[in-house]
């Protein structure tokens, strides 16, 4: 699950070049993230006697799985050189739709049927974003920013601010597990493997990365880059909806506020995880490590009793530090 990067990209990583007949499991950048996460884990274990418990693992790994989904929704768009500011708003509208479909005092459909219907919102919104971006030639930033307000207004108008109850029969997805291993984690790991295969082993994946690397060159190579933009936004919508379904099950309700804080999470985790802000670089395993680091930092702020009023400052500082250390290490390795 190494970083997936287009061959024409000028960001070549020395450690990423495999020797003949050998394959790197992770790139140097992801390895750096593994080491950083390892150091954080050791510090947490030393500071908190309750850290190395199955209860902590079960509790915190579900958030990591959730963060991965939110970050994937952003990373897919970043990898083609776009961004999706409507990640949280799509999650929000999907949550309201899910609530309307399953709540006993509304449609009261089977949760499985509702999941199937709600899942369509992801590709549908992505398709809409993609079509506006490519056909009307409007920047993704403007399109997704505008659509974010559209969806947020819709969710408030439709729900009136009220949360919908999710039947307890659907809580298992977000709250259950194989012993200490949450179902959410298993599903997300499988999805990450799928994304790795998509970007590493399929033509579509390579075209997506190529679009993010140099859209003009890719276009003249005969690849329909407009279609790639639409596909990326549709996939992004799918991940946002999946995150919304996970969260509804984990929290036991469909609250219209869902998604309000996803934008920062999506960028923070994707960037810590090594996703290129200007396209061409995406690492599913890196995003997993990014989510672990993000969660460990948040957990540390609570456990270490850091002055709560400054916790956002520290969180931002630590995220920046993680990225600076990673980029410094990268430059150091290039010089060697």
């Amino acid at each position: 699950m190494s970083n997936i990067q287009h061959p024409t990209s000028n960001i070549q990583h020395p450690l990423a070049e495999p020797r003949f007949g050998q394959t790197d499991w992770v790139t140097g950048r992801t390895l750096g993230l593994v080491m950083f996460a390892g150091v954080l884990t050791i510090i947490m274990a030393l500071v908190s006697p309750n850290f190395l418990t199955t209860e902590t693992f079960f509790s915190q790994s579900r958030y990591i799985a959730f963060y991965v989904m939110v970050a994937m929704a952003q990373a897919i768009c970043l990898a083609i050189g776009d961004m999706n500011l409507a990640v949280g708003a799509v999650g929000s509208i999907a949550t309201v739709a899910f609530g309307l479909l399953v709540a006993p005092d509304h449609a009261h459909l089977s949760p499985w049927l509702a999941v199937g219907i709600v899942f369509l919102i992801g590709p549908a919104t992505g398709l809409l974003h993609g079509l506006i971006i490519t056909r009307l030639k409007i920047d993704a930033f403007i399109v997704t920013l505008s659509m974010m307000f559209v969806y947020m207004g819709l969710r408030s108008g439709i729900s009136g601010g009220n949360a919908y109850s999710i039947p307890q029969s659907f809580w298992w997805l977000g709250q259950g597990g194989f012993g200490w291993l949450p179902y959410m984690v298993v599903i997300v790991l499988l999805i990450l493997c799928g994304v790795s295969v998509l970007y590493g082993r399929t033509k579509l994946g390579r075209w997506l990365i190529a679009t993010g690397t140099n859209p003009m060159a890719t276009h003249f190579s005969g690849i329909n880059t407009k279609r790639m933009v639409i596909i990326a936004h549709a996939l992004s919508g799918c991940f946002a909806v999946l995150a919304a379904i996970f969260w509804a099950s984990q929290s036991g309700n469909a609250a219209p506020q869902t998604g309000d804080d996803w934008l920062i999470i999506s960028f923070a985790v994707a960037i810590i995880g090594g996703t290129g802000l200007k396209g061409n670089l995406i690492s599913p395993f890196g995003i997993l490590m990014g989510a672990i680091i993000f969660k460990l930092i948040q957990h540390a702020l609570v456990i270490l009793k850091i002055n709560d009023n400054y916790s956002n400052t520290l969180l931002g500082g630590l995220i920046l530090l993680a990225i600076v250390v990673d980029r410094t290490r990268e430059r150091f390795e290039k010089k060697q």
Partner: protein, 344 residues
């Protein structure tokens, strides 16, 4: 094998060995005690700070350690992740605001399953939530009282601007319905406009100012049932009412920010309903402490009304004593009214 793969395997092996070593060491040494009670505030905010003050005062009065934790934002997601982090530390009892009452249902279940005690403060949880107590202002009663007071100030005649807070706050529809049902009682009173979807003071100011400008002299009274709207409206109306020859617009708000109290003290605006945030914190911690000592709730769920207090020019400097007396009365009743003694 490539260099990266060797480094990865080495890192994972070292991590496994170190963590195993730490775990073995910790299993043979007693961990330091953690505070049994956590009072969680969703974000730095004057209301939350006052709640935390109540929790700290309870800890000082009773000798039971209470940890006051402040979150980063008032969202269910932030509340969930912070409480779950605290759960892993080993705290035994939690008091928190169900920022989204329905959304907190899952969290209450999770905490109960993990053997922790909970009390909701500041808002009532959704029906069926697995928490035995809510300590809060009765939202409907407070909004009803505010609307009644405003109608009274207007002489039961005139037009009201109703300013609501966030539309995604579950208390907003309750407040709106309560105000509308009071206004419906008086044929000469009408709600001329309702503005809402306000989450910040700046947004509140913009919306109220727009409505007042658009309506000219039509507005006779303004009612606000949220903190940000109350502060924005009180400062705006104070400026308006101070102008020579301006029509005096009546005002009833909710919450006792210092700027609102100053405007009341100066006679520029009429009234606010002071909630009892100190009591929310103090009573919640008292309930959790008693339950940790073995006291049992009399029934599955009970609402403890921490009360609200009308603040006018006459009592603006003395109302705090009334609130503290109210808190002491409620705490004194906990063992008889809400709890049963431990079984021997």
């Amino acid at each position: 094998m490539t260099r990266n793969n060797i480094l990865l395997l080495t890192t994972l092996a070292v991590l496994a060995v170190v963590l195993t070593g730490i775990k073995i060491y910790q299993n043979h040494h007693t961990a330091a005690a953690v505070e049994p009670i956590v009072l969680y505030e969703p974000l730095p905010h004057p209301y939350c700070t006052a709640v935390g003050g109540g929790a700290t005062a309870y800890s000082k009065d009773s000798g039971t350690p209470v940890r006051v934790v402040v979150g980063q934002e008032s969202t269910m997601a932030n509340l969930n992740q912070n409480i779950e982090s605290l759960l892993t530390v080993g705290h035994k009892a939690f008091a928190f605001i169900p920022v989204d009452p329905a959304g907190a249902k899952g969290l209450f279940t999770r905490l109960k399953t993990a053997g922790r005690l909970t009390v909701a403060y500041g808002a009532q949880p959704a029906e069926g939530s697995e928490t035995p107590f809510a300590v809060a202002t009765d939202t409907k009663a407070a909004a009803t009282l505010a609307a009644e007071k405003l109608c009274e100030l207007m002489g039961h005649k005139g037009k009201i601007l109703n300013v609501l807070e966030s539309l995604t706050d579950a208390n907003t529809p309750i407040r709106k319905a309560a105000i509308e049902s009071v206004v419906a009682k008086y044929p000469d009173v009408e709600i001329i406009q309702t503005v809402g979807d306000v989450t910040t003071e700046q947004k509140a100011r913009e919306k109220i100012e727009s409505a007042l400008v658009a309506r000219g002299d039509e507005v006779d009274g303004v009612i606000c049932t949220g903190y940000t709207t109350t502060v924005a409206a009180a400062t705006l109306l104070a400026d308006h009412n101070r102008q020579a020859g301006a029509k005096h617009i009546r005002f009833v708000g909710l919450d006792n920010d210092e700027r609102v109290l100053a405007a009341i003290r100066a006679g520029d605006v009429d009234m606010t309903l002071a909630q009892n945030p100190f009591g929310h914190g103090y009573i919640s911690c008292a309930l959790l402490d008693l339950m940790l000592q073995g006291w049992k709730p009399k029934v599955d769920y009970q609402f403890v009304d921490a009360g609200c207090f009308p603040v006018t020019k006459e009592n603006v400097d003395t109302y705090q004593a009334g609130i503290e007396a109210m808190t002491k009365t409620i705490v004194g009743e906990l063992k008889t009214k809400y709890l049963e003694p431990p079984q021997k």
